[in-house]
């Protein structure tokens, strides 16, 4: 009996650890060379996601802005700020900035941004309310189970294409109906979405 309790207990502990922010990094801001604030840049200044993440509509990788992109503004603004020193040094020494990756998948998973963005999955759906993040953290576990929740029923998450980059958009009351309509309109083949070959190759 004690043995059974021990097993169950071990299982409960493992489960708790597995789903805790320690393992999932959810809501854990990561240390960065520069404490970049999406809240300031997106919500405060109104910069579109794609200004920095330029290849999100055409490539599997969304893209991280090169130092040059930061310097489009910061060659003029805040040029003396100590916080921005790593950026200026990067440009001066031609060494790239090493950011800590917040949203990461295992190496055997092949995620393609462009198809998601073009089929009506908003940035905020997976990355959360990035425009409200003074520091960047992972909003969802990005576990396969979480991906499958949508891949099995994309109508629950899909939004009109023109709203993909709209951080302020929220699901209407009739998401179920809208979702089904959009899934048909955007030719999302739900039964194919759970083929292993879609993400693992």
């Amino acid at each position: 009996m004690a043995f059974v309790v021990a097993i169950v207990g071990a299982g409960w502990v493992t489960d708790a650890v597995f789903w805790s922010p320690y393992t999932t990094y959810v809501h854990v801001p990561q240390a960065q060379p520069v404490p970049f604030s999406h809240q300031h840049h997106v919500d405060g200044l109104g910069i579109d996601c794609r200004y920095c993440h330029t290849s999100v509509e055409s490539s599997p990788y969304a893209g991280l802005p090169p130092t040059e992109t930061c310097m489009t503004c910061h060659s003029q603004l805040w040029t003396q700020a100590p916080l921005l020193e790593p950026i200026h040094r990067s440009l001066a020494t031609n060494t790239p900035v090493k950011w800590t990756r917040v949203n990461d998948l295992p190496d055997f998973v092949y995620f393609d941004h462009s198809i998601h963005v073009n089929k009506g999955i908003g940035c905020a759906t997976c990355h959360g309310p990035v425009d409200q993040m003074p520091l960047t953290w992972r909003a969802n576990t990005l576990y396969m189970k979480w991906c499958l929740d949508c891949h099995r029923a994309p109508e629950n998450q899909i939004r009109p294409r023109e709203e993909v980059f709209n951080m302020k958009w929220s699901q209407p009351a009739g998401q179920a109906a809208l979702g089904r309509q959009l899934v048909a309109k955007y030719h999302v083949e739900t039964d194919r979405l759970t083929n292993c070959s879609v993400c693992h190759h």
Binding site: Y22, T23, Y25, Q30, S55, S58, S59, P60, Y61, G63, L64, P65, P66, T67, E68, S90, L91, N94, T95, P96, V97, K98, W99, T100, R101, D104, P106, D107, F108, Y110, D112, S114, I115, N118, K119, H187, E189, D191, R192, N195, C196, S197, V198, H200, H201
Partner: protein
């Protein structure tokens, strides 16, 4: 695979002679049913595959692994580690991370170029495909071109400038050269020699001309170990001058190959294979256009394997036969006595019947007399201007390379050479043994070598400059037909390598120019109108338009050349290019070392190839080491019995047995060049074979993945096909119905895309380019000789070679075998963890992260196409080696099963843009790696639900069949049965 029991050759011969019908066999052990073969047959992985066979004891193994086990266990319990994500400082505008960029460039072999399109991911080249716009490659690649990427990232390549073995730098080298050339000024460069391989590069030729203009007494010599001197001298004999001969196989109804492996070793082999295949393919039941190939050769080659009629004769005998043929056709050619009259007469009649639509092609290893005779024969048959055209030689001032090498050695011996510049090459290793090149080289005052690797020749050099790889270089080159291609780099030289242009420029002017400027300035000087536009177009397309050499007229000699002196004794040794190592330059390329050679299926080694008759007479078995005694020199080599080898010929492939090479090539094979003398560059009689009683393990894959004599290859003859197109039995045999399965037959409706693959056995030449292409595309590891001997080779697509017929001259057939992607896959239902599953488009999907390594799937696969990672083959890769990996394909760890995926990453890469654009994937948008590489377009992939797709049409053909179809696996990979076009007058 070395066998324990001796092979009863006479018994095997008798068994095969009495065999009737479609009995295919892959190796002698199979016919003899030796215990070794039985073991290979009955165990999925042969004995010892699951056991640790090395000297390392089990106890020690557990000791050193204990720590790893513990760490592995702990490792799995930690969370995903945080990683860095590193953007650019200034992102190149044309580069989108995640999307490949493609650049047209060219790769050369023996000086001749083939146009390629190289794929670049995030600034590094990872894959080579052929350039469809290039007349020489026509979109295809050879094994050497596919493996070029691995050479680029070879950790053993030369990485710096060395001066007497100590690190130095380019500036110091240039100053030293400056001083040396100043010294030579007064003597007009009399002490300067430049030694290169065959050069077709217009820029390099111009530079050398400039150098020689400045130093008129200096000399430039070319030396290729596999020299084409015979071809040049033959042309001189026939036409009075050196011209290049070009063959239009698409117009040839009959081809006679005189020891010519034109399908694989000719400089234009890729083109010739495609054109030959175009004429070979049987499209309609009328089959009228199918060509017929005759081959006479001393050793089995891919061309001989393709032949409808093949005659194994010694190399020395070929001239006799050619003379006899010439006599028959009415050309007075001297006495041509041959015992093969009953074979030759029908061939002669066939050639005459197709006068003007025939080709008689002599091989590069045949003496000039045979080439001259072949020209006379073609001329008589009216083939000139129809199937055969001539151009000026592409090579500059085509010299007799052997004569110029002799001259160089003489100069070096006499101390006349003060400065020798070698651009690549390895003459210490591959120059004729009797010239004693090393001896002479030691007498040179200053010796410089530009080389990709530190080799036997570098050891003698005062200066060694690390060479840039072709993928790192600006250069240019000409294809066999003369078409110019610009060579552009895809990456900055990884190790500061220099190009030939930079080295020569440093000798001419100070400061020397960079390659880009040298090449550009040369072409700017050619005066093409609108240079910038021309330059961009040439780089974009990979070819310079209208640069092929124009056809020209020739004057055929009136009479046949005099006969060559008869050979000393009947046993001869023949030296041939190695099918995977060429002349030794690829010996450190792991993919090519592990590639099973097409006919012998040997890996990681060469051997003395002997005929079964010779083996019987000398009482030799596979792996027995013999001493080959030839003209005062001797070499110990293991033997390998090759059915179809001419009785008295012993083949030794060159390039192995390197004394100084990297970690991959060290210790592999025996050095054929140590026997090769200047009077026997290609073959020589008077070989003596002495048994030593020793043996050496030779690893061959021909017993691996055996399918136990089931109906695997279907073949027939053209007449039989024309009588009954359904001879493969597709219609007649009781094929299992769709419902005849334990599976739910309608689980998948396949109403979307339905992927399928068709492989045309009719045209497959067995070159194995598909194997290396797949290895490059899918990050397939190399396992090494020891693991291959245990049956653990990892290549996802293998090309099986089957013999059929008697022991001494069997028919040879090739069959590429990738995953069948069965609709009723036996592998899927036995996986306990669901790591191999089916998808809606018909692919059998292998999910690496789920696999726990029970290997039940591999056990259940009747085709034996699954590969298991028994060991961690990707451990300890250096940072540079990792750059070769394709980022779109998972790098598999130990304990994971893998197999052909129909290039699912390419399918997804085509599907996503199609979905975004709201359209269907077009036929031809998805090209699997194997399909892209194939010179003859034997492999075709596509959507079976699209009736207009190429693959759907191919599967409609009556020749289409499923391998092991009676098992009701319903494979998506199907084959087109092989047809031969025999001459009804010939029985052989």
């Amino acid at each position: 695979m070395n066998t324990d029991a001796s092979l009863p050759l006479e018994e095997i011969r008798a068994r095969l002679a009495g065999a009737r019908g479609r009995e295919y066999w892959r190796c002698l052990d199979e016919i003899a049913a030796t215990p070794a073969f039985e073991e290979f047959l009955h165990r999925e992985y042969p004995a010892g595959a699951s056991e640790w066979r090395d000297e390392l004891s089990r106890r020690h193994f557990f000791q050193i692994m204990a720590a790893s086990f513990a760490l592995a266990g702990l490792g799995a319990c930690t969370k995903q580690p945080l990683e860095n994500i590193v953007p650019y400082v200034k992102q190149p505008p044309e580069l989108t991370p995640g999307k490949p960029l493609y650049y047209a460039t060219a790769l050369t072999l023996g000086g001749f170029a083939n146009g390629v399109i190289a794929t670049s991911r995030e600034g590094r080249p990872i894959k080579i495909e052929g350039n469809p716009d290039h007349p020489s490659s026509l979109g295809a690649t050879s094994v050497f071109m596919q493996a070029a990427v691995l050479d680029l990232y070879d950790p053993d390549r030369a990485q710096s400038v060395l001066r007497a073995g100590q690190p130095s730098d380019w500036t110091t080298f240039v100053s030293a050269m400056n001083a040396a050339m100043q010294d030579q000024q007064t003597r007009r460069g009399a002490g300067v020699r430049i030694l290169t391989g065959s050069v077709t590069s217009p820029t390099l030729r111009a530079q050398l001309a400039e150098l020689l203009g400045k130093y008129p007494a200096a000399k430039w010599l070319q030396w290729e170990p596999l020299t084409r001197d015979n071809v040049r001298e033959g042309a001189r004999l026939a036409f009075g001058e050196v011209v290049e001969t070009h063959y239009a196989f698409e117009d040839a109804a009959v081809v006679l190959a005189l020891d010519s492996d034109f399908l694989s070793t000719h400089p234009a082999a890729l083109r010739y294979a495609r054109k030959f295949a175009d004429r070979r393919r049987v499209k309609q039941p009328d089959g009228a256009s199918m060509n017929r190939l005759y081959a006479i050769e001393p050793t089995p080659t891919l061309t001989g394997a393709m032949a409808d009629h093949r005659l194994p004769v010694s190399s020395m005998e070929v001239e006799n036969i050619t003379r006899a043929l010439a006599q028959r056709l009415g050309i007075p050619a001297g006495v041509g006595v041959t015992s093969h009259d009953d074979w030759l007469s029908p061939v002669a009649r066939d050639l005459e019947a197709h006068a003007g639509a025939g080709v008689v092609i002599p091989g590069e290893s045949q003496p000039p007399a045979v080439h001259a005779l072949a020209h006379l024969i073609n001329g008589k048959l009216g083939n000139f201007g129809r199937t055969i055209t001539f151009t000026d030689s592409i090579e500059p001032a085509p010299a007799n390379q052997l004569a110029s090498l002799r001259e160089l050695v003489a100069d070096m011996q006499s101390g006349a050479v003060d400065l020798l510049i070698m651009l690549e090459g390895n003459p210490v290793f591959d120059a004729p043994a009797d010239l004693n090149f090393a001896d002479a080289l030691a007498k040179v005052k200053t010796c410089v070598r530009l080389g990709f690797d530190d080799n036997e020749t570098s050891r003698f050099c005062h200066w060694h400059i690390a060479a840039a790889h072709a993928l790192e270089s600006w250069s240019d080159a000409r294809a066999f037909d003369g078409t110019v291609s610009l060579i552009q780099p895809l990456i900055e030289p990884l190790f500061d390598g220099k190009t030939t242009h930079e080295v020569i420029d440093a000798l001419i002017r100070q400061p020397g120019r960079a390659s880009y400027d040298i090449v550009r300035e040369y072409w700017w000087g050619q005066g093409w109108p609108g240079f910038e536009k021309w330059w961009r177009a040439a780089l974009d397309r990979g070819v310079v338009a209208n640069s092929a050499a124009p056809p020209r007229a020739v004057t055929l000699a009136a009479s046949a050349p005099p006969a060559s002196p008869p050979p000393p004794s009947k046993t001869e040794i023949i030296f041939r290019a190695d099918p995977t190592i060429w002349d030794g330059r690829f010996v450190n390329n792991a993919w090519l070392q592990e590639l099973a050679k097409p006919i012998t299926k040997l890996t990681w080694d060469n051997a003395a190839l002997i005929s079964p008759a010779l083996a019987q007479r000398e009482k030799l078995q596979n792996g027995d080491v013999v001493e080959l005694k030839f003209r005062g020199r001797s070499l110990r080599a293991p033997v390998w019995i090759v059915p179809g080898q001419a009785e008295r010929s012993v083949t030794l492939h060159v390039g192995y047995g390197r004394a100084r090479t990297g970690r991959v090539g060290a210790g592999a094979g025996v050095n054929a060049f140590s026997l090769r003398t200047s009077d026997a560059l290609c073959s020589g009689g008077g070989l003596e074979i002495v048994r030593t009683g020793e043996t050496r393990e030779l690893v061959s894959t021909q017993m691996h993945h055996s399918m136990e004599g089931r109906d695997i290859i279907r073949s027939g003859t053209l007449p039989a096909f024309m009588r009954d197109p359904n001879f493969t039995g597709k219609e007649k045999e009781p094929r299992p119905s769709r419902e005849d399965t334990l599976y739910h037959p309608d689980e998948f409706k396949y109403d979307g895309y339905k992927w399928g693959l068709s492989i045309d056995l009719n045209v497959c030449i067995g070159c194995n380019a598909c194997t290396i292409a797949c290895q490059a595309e899918n990050n397939i590891p190399v396992v090494g000789k020891h693991q291959v001997s245990a049956g653990r080779d990892m290549q996802w697509i293998r090309v099986d070679r089957y013999f059929r017929g008697g022991l001494d001259n069997p028919e040879m057939n090739h069959q590429p075998v990738p995953c069948m992607h069965c609709e009723n896959a036996p592998c899927e239902l036995v996986c306990p963890v669901g790591a191999t599953v089916h998808d809606h488009e018909g692919l059998n999907v292998q999910v690496y992260n789920r696999c726990i390594g029970t290997r039940y799937c591999s056990n259940n696969c009747p085709y034996k196409v699954r590969r298991f990672n028994f060991l961690e083959f990707n451990a300890g890769l250096t940072a540079v080696q990792k750059m070769a990996k394709n980022p779109d394909v998972t790098v598999r760890s130990r304990g994971v099963m893998e197999k052909c995926t129909y290039c699912t990453q390419r399918i997804n890469a085509a599907r996503i843009p199609a979905e975004i654009a709201g359209r269907k994937i077009r036929d031809g948008e998805i090209v699997t790696a194997c399909q892209a590489a194939c010179p003859v377009e034997a492999i075709v992939f596509g959507d079976l639900n699209d009736p207009a797709s190429r693959v759907a049409k191919l599967k409609e053909q009556p020749l289409d069949y499923w391998m092991l179809g009676e098992l009701n696996t319903r494979p998506r990979t199907s084959y087109l049965a092989k047809l031969r076009n025999p001459n009804p007058e010939l029985t052989v």
